[in-house]
Each structure stands twice: as structure tokens, then as C-alpha cells.
Subunit: 386 residues, 2 copies
């Protein structure tokens, strides 16, 4: 089973960037964003004050800059021959100053340089150092990340599998009296153990390789209810809002369940949400517009009389980040293309009663939408014996 993007894919990614740079007469691209670094190098690092930067020249060899602390991992994990390290942050010479001077030394004839975004402070610092060469912002890597290649799709399918697994464990262990924190520890621990056993290695992205939110009762009416000491009770709603990460790629599976029993009112609202969620999934096809898909799901909920209980859009893109473009929202008119990966997760939140939200992870294909999360959604399978 594929556990990470193979090294040859990074060679290909760098080649695509270089092709773009040549076509646009840009001398080189500075990659500074943590997820863009992961996308171009395979090196994951927790974003902090110590900069990791990749310089891709229009032609010639790329240079990867890392703190010495990351040097061994950078040599082991990446394809780059030219890895240069600095000791620490902030340094007598700031790491960014050293990097730019180091780049100019190797590539003295830069005409125009691009950077992939970042803080205003970083931009101004680089602009001053790189002068008289001009500096521009370039969103190429963010654009490349919008559609996933076959390796990325395979990792996302695997992440979908473990997202299903953690939800399944939730339905198995849930019992009246169990706290949300106990629940989360148990199911994320079990899933992590299974991932280690199956895959041999996991990537410790922020949030961990497997986890989620598991609110029960009235707390389900808060979309982002963080794990608490609240104990679940019979008859309550339990939202298992879970996800897993394989090789850096994140999927999510969320299911609205019921402890022991479900009331007619709970079942009714569930049905409205679930229908809207399925309508959005069905619409996740090439050529469709994000804003239209959002309208399909949310308008269905509005027409069913629950418009006042909407607290968020229908969904968002997924990949290296838990939330990334495109957005299944009224203001995003992106037209879907094969390889885009989306969540479908409209929610209905009725204060002092209950919240209702399923989420699946969907890959847009030339054919049917590929739903990588498969945990059942029929009402009887969502009722947890208690």
C-alpha cells in the first residue's frame, strides 16, 4: 500500500515548476509555505520561527535551506543534492538574509524572482535583499495543489479508509456515561495503532494522524465543539466528526449518530441534512460551479424550513490542509475539474436541541464522484445500541 508520495513524483513536480518559470521568464521561485514545502520536497516540518525554504531556479539545481536540526531528515526524505543548513533562529545573520545571499552567490544572474506568499515582513525583507532583481508573488504551487494526481488520490483513498475506521470504532465503543474525551482518546488511539500496524509509518501533521471532535447532546449544536468532560446519555445525538491523514493527505468522515434511540424529530432533521449532503455529492462533477453546489444543498435545507439553523457553507477543498481551496460556498465560482477533492458537509444546528452533520470526502473524476469515505448512513446503522 502507498504510504507516501514516491520520490520520482517530486522530480516531476520540480520539472513542472521550472517549465512554468521558463515560460514566464521568471528566474526562480522561493517556496516558503509549510504545505508548499511539503508538496515540493516531501519534507514535513512543524511551522515555527525557523524558516525552511526551497529555491527552484528556472533551470539548474534547486537549493533546499533548513535549520541544522532538520538536516538529517532533509537528506533522508528529499531528492535534493544541494541542501544548505543554518544553525538557529534568529541568528547573528537572519536565516532569510543568509539564504538570499547564498542564492545570489550560486545564481548571480537573476532577473525576476517570485515567492509563494507569506507575511508582509518576509516579502519586504526578501525584496530588499534581492534588489535590484524584482520580486513578485506567484501562486503556481497553490494552483497545482488544487487538483490531485494519481498518487495523491491513492493516499486520499487510504486516508478515507482510516477516517471510516475511526468513525466505526466510535459507534462500537460509544456507551452512556462515556465522556467525549474518553471517547476521543480511545478511538484515535485505536486508529493510530491500526495505521502503524498497516502502514508502518505515519506523518505527525498538526492535529495528529487520526482524530476529530465527538460532541454529544446539546453540544452537537455547536459546529466546532471541542472535546469535553461531557458524558453521553441515552437518546442523545452524537456527532462523530473524524479524520485521518496518510502521507500528508487528509480525509474526513463525519456521521450524526444516536445513542440507543432516536426521536421522530431527530430523525426528521437528520433526513433533511442527509438528503442535502447527498445532493451536493451528486453535483460534484467536472464543469459544475462551487457556488451552485452550495446553493443546491443549502437551498434544499432552507426550503425544508431549517434555513435559520445554518451556520456554515456546504464544504471545502481538502488535501495537504484540512481546509483548502476551492470552497463550496456562495462566493466561490470555481468550476470543478477532475482531481479536485472536496468535503460535502451541510449542517443544521438547532440550539437547545441538537446538531446534524454528515461529512464525506469526494474526489471529482471524469466519471461518477469518487466518495472515499464509505461509512453507512442509513438511520438504523446510525443508532448505537445502548
Amino acid at each position: 500500500m502507498l504510504t507516501k508520495i514516491p520520490k520520482e513524483a517530486y522530480t516531476e513536480r520540480i520539472a513542472r515548476i521550472q517549465e512554468h518559470l521558463q515560460k514566464n521568464a521568471i528566474s526562480g521561485l522561493l517556496v516558503t509555505n509549510t504545505y508548499n514545502i511539503f508538496y515540493t520536497t516531501g519534507l514535513f516540518h512543524f511551522p515555527n520561527e525557523r524558516p525552511v525554504v526551497l529555491f527552484v531556479p528556472a533551470s539548474g539545481e534547486s537549493i533546499l535551506f533548513v535549520p541544522v536540526m532538520e538536516l538529517a531528515e532533509a537528506k533522508h526524505a528529499t531528492i535534493f543534492q544541494d541542501i544548505r543548513d543554518y544553525f538557529e533562529y534568529p541568528g547573528v545573520v537572519h536565516p532569510i538574509d543568509w539564504m538570499i545571499s547564498s542564492i545570489k552567490h550560486t545564481y548571480p544572474n537573476l532577473v525576476q524572482v517570485s515567492i509563494d506568499g507569506g507575511s508582509r515582513e518576509l516579502f519586504l525583507r526578501v525584496k530588499e535583499l534581492i534588489a535590484p532583481t524584482s520580486l513578485s508573488v506567484n501562486t503556481l504551487i497553490h494552483e497545482l495543489r488544487l487538483t490531485k494526481d494519481p498518487y495523491e488520490v491513492e493516499l486520499l483513498r487510504s486516508a478515507g479508509y482510516y477516517s471510516d475506521y475511526i468513525v466505526k470504532r466510535g459507534t462500537e465503543v460509544a456507551t452512556p456515561g462515556m465522556s467525549e474525551l474518553e471517547m476521543l482518546q480511545t478511538i484515535s488511539g485505536d486508529t493510530l495503532n491500526k495505521m502503524i500496524e498497516d502502514l508502518g509509518e505515519v506523518v505527525y501533521v498538526p492535529g495528529g494522524p487520526a482524530g476529530g471532535l465527538v460532541p454529544s447532546g446539546l453540544r452537537t449544536a455547536m459546529p466546532h465543539a471541542l472535546p469535553s468532560a461531557k458524558r453521553m446519555e441515552k437518546g442523545e445525538t452524537l456527532i462523530l466528526s473524524c479524520g485521518a491523514n496518510v502521507g500528508g493527505y487528509r480525509a474526513e468522515c463525519e456521521r450524526t449518530c444516536f445513542i440507543g434511540d432516536v426521536s421522530a424529530e431527530q430523525a426528521k432533521v437528520l433526513e433533511v441534512m442527509a438528503t442535502a449532503q447527498q445532493m451536493a455529492i451528486e453535483a460534484m462533477r467536472p464543469g459544475n460551479k462551487c457556488s451552485d453546489i452550495d446553493a443546491i444543498a443549502l437551498d434544499y435545507i432552507r426550503k425544508a424550513g431549517y434555513g435559520q439553523y445554518l451556520l456554515h457553507r456546504t464544504g471545502h477543498g481538502k488535501g495537504l490542509e484540512e481546509h483548502e481551496a476551492p470552497w463550496i460556498e456562495v462566493g466561490d465560482h470555481t468550476i470543478l475539474r477532475p482531481g479536485m477533492v472536496l468535503s460535502s458537509e451541510p449542517g443544521i444546528y438547532i440550539e437547545e436541541f441538537s446538531g446534524f452533520r454528515h461529512s464525506d470526502t469526494i474526489i471529482v473524476t471524469d466519471d461518477e464522484p469518487l466518495v472515499v469515505t464509505q461509512f453507512p448512513k442509513t438511520l438504523d446503522q446510525l443508532i448505537i445500541k445502548a
Copy 2:
């Protein structure tokens, strides 16, 4: 026991900001950084694409802008009367555009506005929208955060207590054959349960309320070895690199331990590291310079013959962020003041042998350095029975 900053402290913080704005003829400050928002409002939110912004005018009432999803929590957790919500990101009107227009409507006579940093994109967007009013970057809140008030000190002491607790649990449960992942799950779970029991509530900051890294054997020679399936063995080094967060404030306690037995060579290097670590702690007094403290610890290690095994600085500031200014590093000449909070954690990393690092969290006071982490460091207490 104090579990979070009391509401009156936020009134005081806003008053200090307003005083600064008046003194500097700035009409208002836009607070956009996640930790600065927490510092000024008490509202914690996971940083993502949905902006949360506080506008503090030089005089008059502050306005807190949140996505509707955070509205209930914002009303509950903050002192602000004027909380305005938007539906979603990106929106037909971008949330930032709507906020600036909303601010201009309430405060039509702005002369100069400041912002607390952020991306270049955000700065340019605000600059254009706020025109003809000028926009500048203002680091006041980062400066206020450098020294901690008595409430913050109390929370940090409590965070130190739980940091000790998680290390103690590590020494109690460690046994040959246990994997790093099992270890981490057990001790972070136990500590979280204790925190919930003692404190009633926890803040789910990124990284969780209690956790850390627990490498054993050769993996201890990597400063940031993420939890793995590696099983610990008798005679190996085990680094319990742990931390806890109370009310948003983070402490860390790290101890280099030995499973069952310690070799003469392990004991010798431990002694060098531990002496350097203690020398840095002793030097954490008002008037001393960060770079000098770094030199005290690292030069001691160099003189003992281990300079080639240094991979990082002596320490860093702590508070709302795990790493924050000031830096106990050669390039940071900040002079310590009472209320600054620092880690002391010089490390020695010998590849194919072992790593050695203790860390404590220290508060600079007018008197002796206040070490909020107290887990023992004598050799016999670091040997885990096995």
C-alpha cells in the same frame, strides 16, 4: 485554582492598548493574529481561513468580528458588547472587506489605523479599503505579551505542575517493549483526565492540552523525533519532552531518563548537559542579555568537548505560543525583564549513540528565577526501574 484569565484583565488590556493609541495619535488597531486575539479577547479559535478580527479604537467601544459559527462562544467568552458576525468564507463580499466597511461606518473619522502584522495579502487589502486613512504595522501586542502579569504567571505555574505530572507518569509507566506511541497515548491521556478532574475545563490549543515527544534509544539523537512505533529497550535513553497548557498558557518539562540502567558514557554526557542547563537557569535574571545566557550554556558544552553535537540554541520564550520571543540565542540581545518566561534546554545529540536534553520553564522575577517545573534531575531519579 485559576483556570483562565479573568474577564476584568481583558478590560485592562484593552485600556492599555487605547492609552498607547491615544499617545501615538493612532485612531485604531486591527488585531488579526490568532494569539493576539486570544490575548485581547480570551476567545480561542483554530487559525483557519475564516478571519476573526478585533478593532480597538483609540477611544470608544471595540468591535469584535467573528464568523457566525463562533458567535455564541464569542458572546459567552468575551467582554465585548459589540460583536458582529458574518456567515462564511470567502463570501460574496470578502469578510475583511465587510469588516473594514463596517468599521468605517461606525468610526467615520479615522486618521491613522494600525494592524498587528499578518500576510502581505491582508495588509494590501486593508490598506486599499481603509484609504485615504493610512495603515501601519504595530507590534504593541507582541510587546505586551513579552512580560507576563500575575494572572498569566499563575496559569504558567499551573501549566508547570501538569508538565511535571506528565513526565512523572512517563517515568512510572515506561517499561521495555512499550512503543513511543503507546507511551504518549497513556501519559497524555492520564494527564488530560487529571486536568479535567482538577480544573473542570481545558483549552484545546493546537497540540492539545497535554502532550509531547517521547523518543527512546538512537532516536533521542534527533531533537524533534516524532512519536513512532519504536519500542524502548533496557539500557536505552528515553527523553520525556512534555508540556501542558492551562488557560492558553504553555509550560514545558523535559527530562532525559534511562531505562533500567545507565552507562558511564551516558552519565557523563548527561552531567555536561545538566550543568549547562542549570547555568542558564541561574542566569535568567533581570538585566542579563539573552545572547549572553546562550553563550554561558553552549560554551560550557563546547569546552567540555561536545560542541560538534549542538543542534540548537539554549532556549526560547514561552507563553500563549510554544515558542515565542525572546530567544536565548546568539543573535538575540534582548535584556531580560521581570515577567519574561523562558525555557532552558541546551541539548547534546550524538548520532548513533544518544541525545541528552532537559528543559524547564522559568519566570524571570525581581528575585531568584522562578522555575515552574520541578521534576527531579538527580541521576538516580532519572533511572527508570526495569
